[in-house]
Symmetry: C2
Subunit: 243 residues, 2 copies
DNA sequence: CATTAAATATGTCTTTAGGACACTATTGTG
DNA sequence: CACAATAGTGTCCTAAAGACATATTTAATG
C-alpha cells in the first residue's frame, strides 16, 4: 500500500481505502496516589461494549479535533475523572496487537501519572463510576482488556524509579516529610529501607527544599516538611557511573 | 463518541463513521550497529509523499492481516531492508501529535534495535535505498518527519544503557573482545572509560562466556573472545541499591 | 634471536558512598 | 517527670568504583 502515491491527492485517495480497518487507538493513563500508607490506582467502570461493567483504566480515544498531542489526550481523560491535571505524567509504553481487544487490532499508549490524594478526593467522591482502588486488591480483580497487565508494568516501573529517584513524591501533597516519602518508597519496593542511607542520598542530591515548617503525627518528634525543587527537573539521587 | 453503543453491532456502526479521520499509524525502528570504530544507523530513502527523496527511518504501516504485534511490524520492516531479524529489539517510545505529519494526526511507535554489521552488510549493499549512516553525520542531515529527533532519543537511551548494561554488545558480532565492547561504550558515552572498572563490573556480573579463543589485531597481545550469556536475559552489571 | 612497540590484562592503593546500628533530639501522654 | 514514640544524626564497616602502575603476550624490526 502507498507504494506509488506521489502527492497528497493520490495519498488521500489511497489512504481512505485503508481506513475501513484502521486499528483502534486509545490512550490509557495509570494514575497512582498514596494515602494512609497505601498505594492506590484510579479505576473507572466501563459503560460501553466491550467489557461493559468491568473496571478499567481511565483512558479513551484521541480527539483529533481538540488534542494536539498524546499527552493532552491523557490529561483530558484524567481531568474528566479527577477534575485536575496531575503534576507528573510520563509515557510508560505502548501495547499493540491483534488480540487485546475483541473488536479488532488495537493499540493503546499507556502513561504513568501521579497525584496527591487530597487534590482530587473531592471530585472523585462525587462520581460513582471512578474509584481509588488499593493496588494490592487490583491483582484479585478482573479488569477490562489487558489493564491488569498494564497496571503491573506501571507499578514495576515506578518501583524502579523509587530506587534512584524521588519521582514517587508526586503522589504526595505539595509539602511532605521524609518519613512519609520513605514509607511510600518502602511500599513500592516491598521492603524496608535504611533511614540513614535514604536521607543521605536525598540530602546530597539537593532535590528538596526545607520549608521551615514541621508536622507532628500525634506523639513523637515532629518531622520537617519539605517541598520538591520543581524548577530543576532533576529527580535522581544516585550518582552516575563514569562521570 | 461511543457513549451509547452497547454491543458489537452498534459499536461498529459508530466506529466506522470515525474511520474517515483515523490517525496515521506507523512503526519506526532505529537500527544501530558498530563497525570500524563508528556508530551507524540504518536509513532508507523515501520513495513516496510526503518528504519524498529524504532519508528516514526504515518504518512503515502496520499490516493488520499479517502482523500480530507491533514488534512483528518492526521486525518485518527491518527484514525487508536488511534481510534478517536483529537480535535486540526494544520499544523506545511513541510520538503522536497533530503536527509531525503534514497529512494528518500521526502516531508512530518507535523501537531501538541492534545488530552486528557483518550480518546484514551483504543485503544492504545490494539495495540503493538503504544505507548505514554514521551517527555523527545524521545531525547534519535533514531527515523525513521528526526522525532526527527520534534517532537522538534512541541514542540517548542507548547511552544510558551503556552506563549499567552490556546491551550495546548486540551491535557487535556474536563473539567479541572486551576492548571492542569498551570502545563501543566509549563511543556511546562520548568519553573514555577506566579499563579496570569496566572489566571488573562485567566480570562480577558474569554476563559473558569466555570462548577460549583469541583474536589478534595486528601487533599486541591477542584479546580473549567472549560471547553473551543469552539464556540469562540479564544485561546489567551494576548492583541494585537496597538489595 | 634479541629488542621494541603495541595491545591486552591484572595488582593494588585510594576514594566514594551505601549498610548497619547505636545514639541523640523533640514531641505527646499518663 | 518518666516514658513511649517518632524524627534525625554519628560513626564505623563494607562494597565497589577510580586511578594508575605493572605484567603479559603478541608482531615487527634490525
Amino acid at each position: 500500500m502507498l507504494t506509488s502515491s506521489e502527492n497528497e491527492e493520490t495519498f488521500l485517495a489511497t489512504y481512505n481505502k485503508r481506513e475501513f480497518d484502521a486499528p483502534l487507538m486509545t490512550v490509557d493513563p495509570v494514575l497512582f496516589t498514596y494515602h494512609e500508607g497505601l498505594l492506590k490506582v484510579l479505576l473507572v467502570k466501563r459503560s460501553n461494549y466491550p467489557d461493559k461493567g468491568l473496571w478499567g483504566l481511565p483512558g479513551g480515544f484521541i480527539d483529533q479535533d481538540n488534542d494536539q498531542t498524546l499527552e493532552q489526550t491523557a490529561l483530558r481523560k484524567l481531568k474528566e475523572k479527577t477534575g485536575v491535571s496531575p503534576p507528573y505524567l510520563e509515557q510508560l509504553y505502548t501495547v499493540g496487537n491483534a488480540k487485546r481487544d475483541k473488536r479488532s487490532w488495537s493499540i493503546t499508549i499507556c502513561y504513568t501519572a501521579l497525584i496527591a490524594h487530597q487534590i482530587c478526593e473531592a471530585q472523585i467522591s462525587t462520581v460513582i463510576d471512578a474509584k481509588w482502588i488499593m493496588l494490592d486488591d487490583v491483582s484479585n480483580m478482573t479488569l477490562a482488556f489487558d489493564h491488569s497487565h498494564i497496571i503491573n508494568t506501571a507499578r514495576e516501573r515506578l518501583k524502579q524509579k523509587a530506587l534512584y529517584s524521588i519521582v514517587p513524591a508526586y503522589a504526595l501533597p505539595e509539602t511532605f516529610t521524609l518519613p512519609e516519602l520513605q514509607h511510600l518508597h518502602e511500599a513500592l519496593l516491598g521492603k524496608s529501607i535504611q533511614k540513614k542511607s535514604f536521607r543521605r542520598r536525598i540530602d546530597q542530591a539537593e532535590l528538596l527544599i526545607d520549608t521551615g515548617e514541621r508536622r507532628s503525627m500525634g506523639s513523637g518528634r515532629p518531622a520537617v516538611l519539605y517541598r520538591m525543587k520543581k524548577d530543576s527537573g532533576k529527580y535522581t539521587f544516585v550518582r552516575n557511573l563514569e562521570n
